[in-house]
């Protein structure tokens, strides 16, 4: 089926803000991006809204279609921390079909069997079953020998490795970042340097192996400094963050608010400022939702016993747009962080509006105000630390492979 999106402001690669263009699609793909509208095709009048690539969420803990469609997410990389763990080709194959055709799921192969951090999983077979990257899951691999073998192996398979960055020796029982808030609340805490320690080791192992590591969440000034240096050296490292660490500091856990219990935990205000700076200077490559819906049985517990994570799918775009409004970055850069860069890491033919790419598109009403409300979430659970926050910007329509959803 051929169709044309007309009267849209289109965000094309390499531009800071959207341009008045027409986008023609043919089947699943974008056929043409041009100033004049081709005649004779089915035409979709976008009424002046902004047309961007669909968001590619790297990485989520649950495929949660209502939340993703609300938030303009057309593809999501699923973390291997599932029950059962995604450590076998059959699991990858099964998980790849979840959500199709209106949402594409890219399951991430567990780096080690059962995510135990000791024996390599069948990464090669999982690649053939459709896995596009490997992940260490919620935890880091403490054994440096195992980690180096993993990186060598993934280098030979040309698979990026998505890692969690916290030294588990330091974070063993910790539920918060060491600092005044944790001390006042009497919560066990680990120093923020647990992150830099693990990143430093993994960068050394990237240098050893030549593999590509994507640090899923880098949330401290010291960690980001290490990433800057590694990138300057030309090492294959990329890194990401979620809106939680960009817009909240550890003060959010005061009153034992378990919706603000994250992994890694929320950091000091100084570290939060460093994260914003790293968005601005380009150190951070990816913003993802970390979507991890948790019901009351996981969150309505004493803080130390509660589960970590937030339902982030539907708030990812609206929160991220604050970075544009605050003039840290332009809209073009934001969609590199939300779509283009995740697509490159996964090696998928999507994430930008250009000829030959998948017609995964969203129409955004930039000004639309709404309020985040934990009781009315599209997600399978309402555990958002941004409850009651007024935001602006909402997805008006979403197209996966050219088809309206």
């Amino acid at each position: 089926m051929k169709q044309v999106f007309t009267n849209a402001k289109v965000l094309v690669p390499g531009t800071k803000s959207p341009l008045p263009l027409n986008v023609a699609t043919d089947g699943d793909l974008i056929a043409r991006v041009s100033e004049e509208a081709p005649s004779g095709d089915n035409s979709i009048d976008c009424k002046g809204a902004i047309l961007t690539p669909g968001i590619i969420d790297l990485a989520v803990f649950k495929i949660d279609k209502p939340a993703f469609h609300f938030g303009g997410i057309t593809r999501a990389a699923l973390m291997p921390d599932q029950a059962p763990v995604l450590d076998l080709p059959a699991m990858i194959k099964h998980s790849s079909s979840e959500g199709k055709p209106s949402l594409w799921s890219h399951p991430l192969a567990a780096a080690t069997k059962g995510l135990k951090g000791t024996e390599l999983a069948e990464i090669g077979l999982m690649k053939e079953a459709g896995a596009r990257a490997v992940a260490t899951g919620r935890n880091w691999i403490a054994n440096s020998g195992v980690m180096l073998k993993l990186l060598h192996y993934c280098r030979s398979l040309d698979m990026p490795v998505i890692v969690h960055s916290e030294d588990s020796g330091l974070t063993a029982d910790a539920v918060a970042t060491a600092g005044e808030t944790a001390t006042r609340l009497g919560l066990s805490s680990a120093p923020a340097s647990a992150e830099a320690l693990s990143i430093a080791r993994d960068i050394a192992l990237v240098r050893e192996s030549g593999a590509h590591i994507h640090f899923r969440q880098v949330t401290t000034a010291a960690g980001l400094d290490l990433i800057r240096v590694a990138k300057a050296e030309g090492l294959r490292v990329t890194c990401g963050i979620t809106p939680a660490h960009l817009f909240l500091s550890d003060i959010a856990i005061s009153d034992f608010r378990t919706f603000a219990k994250m992994s890694p935990p929320l950091r000091s205000e100084e570290d939060r400022q460093a994260c914003l700076e790293a968005i601005k200077d380009g150190t951070i490559d990816v913003i993802s939702s970390g979507h991890d819906p948790r019901g009351p049985e996981g969150k309505r517990l004493p803080f130390a016993e509660a589960e970590t994570g937030m339902a982030g799918g539907e708030t990812l775009l609206a929160l991220s747009l604050n970075l544009v409004r605050d003039e840290l970055i332009d809209l073009g850069r934001l969609f590199e962080l939300l779509s283009t860069n995740p697509a490159k890491i996964l090696g998928v033919n999507a994430g930008q509006i250009a000829e030959g790419y998948e017609a995964d598109l969203i129409l955004i009403d930039m000004e639309k105000p709404w309020q985040i409300d934990s009781r009315k979430m599209a997600a399978s659970a309402g555990n958002t630390p941004f409850d009651k926050l007024p935001v602006q910007g909402r997805v008006r329509a979403i197209y996966k492979g050219g088809k309206a959803i």
Binding site: L185, S189, R300, L301, P302
Partner: protein, 334 residues
């Protein structure tokens, strides 16, 4: 007995706001956030119960017909006993729920337990739990006042109040005193509540422990942090020793009990560094010969340890009384 000196200049002369304005809180979850006059009000209220408890007939009908549930999710002997005696002396029907017998062991969630306790129409619930913040979680789900009897490493407010009452009765005004708290500050709810209470009342608080047992950024709680015990003791008016849990003495935080005693045990020689009339306190139960030597613990001139236990009952009676005034429709407590 030295504690016969009752009241203190600061409390005796203090005018408190009328009715519930003197203590406008529904629960007692912690000392953090309390105003100095609210703390002093509870201490003043406790004085009458100290008197009653020294009589041969120790009974008041103040809480007649009320039900107080002591829900203890963590083992306790003295705090549970103290709360039970406090409730019974005021005429309340006191029921104890022990974790070992509770349905928590059967997988019931804390919230479900809270809802169950609430449905039994308790008039006050006293809770101890091993997890920081757990008591607040329950308080949000019940209709009656909740008293925190210790939650994780967070707070133990009645301990801080009984300590303040003990100090006040021995030393007079707490404001301006130097209090040294020594021991496992990192894991201690007693230390946190005492830090909030004593600094709010104007005392200068020092904490002392090996750095591995001091919580991060502790100086942000308006205390001075020391690792050298001699320096921390220098000129102190009150020396408060904390209990070191056995499981932390075997190479985890501390290499051995004898090394801890060598560096941080309160001995008569060390106590000589504090003021000549310095008061020694301990929340109990004591590890004799580890954090405190027996001859100091048992010296009635220096040690206030048994007095602390006595004040504990009075303070808990005051808290139960004040927090149930609304439900008892006391005039001015709407």
């Amino acid at each position: 007995m030295t504690s016969e000196q009752t009241g203190s200049p600061s409390t005796a002369g203090h005018q408190f706001p009328a009715g519930s304005d003197a203590f406008p809180h529904r629960h007692l979850l912690g000392i953090a956030g309390l105003q100095p006059w609210e703390i002093l009000f509870l201490l003043k209220e406790a004085e009458q119960w100290v008197e009653l408890n020294r009589k041969s007939i120790k009974h008041s009908g103040r809480l007649d017909g009320l039900t107080v549930i002591n829900a203890f999710f963590e083992n306790s002997t003295r705090t549970l006993l103290s709360f039970e005696i406090a409730g019974k002396r005021m005429g309340a029907d006191v029921v104890n729920m022990h974790a070992a017998q509770s349905s928590i062991k059967k997988g019931e969630t804390l919230i479900d337990t809270a809802v169950t306790l609430n449905a039994m129409r308790a008039d006050a619930i006293v809770i101890r739990h091993g997890s920081s913040g757990a008591v607040q979680l329950i308080a949000d789900k019940v209709d009656c006042p909740v008293l925190n009897a210790g939650d994780g490493s967070h707070e133990h407010p009645t301990q801080a109040l009984l300590d303040a009452l003990t100090i006040q009765r021995r030393k007079g005004d707490i404001s301006g005193l130097t209090v040294t708290i020594c021991g496992d500050v990192m894991h201690s709810r007693v230390a946190r509540s005492n830090i909030y209470c004593l600094t709010t009342l104007g005392a200068k608080v020092r904490v002392c422990a090996p750095t591995s047992l001091l919580p991060p950024a502790i100086e942000r709680l308006n205390v001075e942090a020391y690792s050298n015990f001699a320096e921390a003791l220098d000129g102190a008016d009150v020396v408060m020793m904390l209990r070191l849990q056995n499981e932390r003495m075997n190479g985890d935080f501390i290499p051995s009990a004898r090394e801890y005693h060598h560096l941080y045990g309160l001995t008569r020689e060390r106590l000589a560094l504090a003021k000549p009339d310095a008061l020694v306190m301990h929340p109990g139960p004591m590890n004799r010969g580890i954090e405190i030597s027996s001859d100091i613990a048992d010296d009635p001139e220096r040690s206030a340890i048994t007095e602390q236990v006595e004040m504990g009952v009075a303070v808990r009676m005051a808290c139960l009384d004040v927090l149930t005034r609304r439900s008892r429709n006391m005039e001015g407590w709407s």
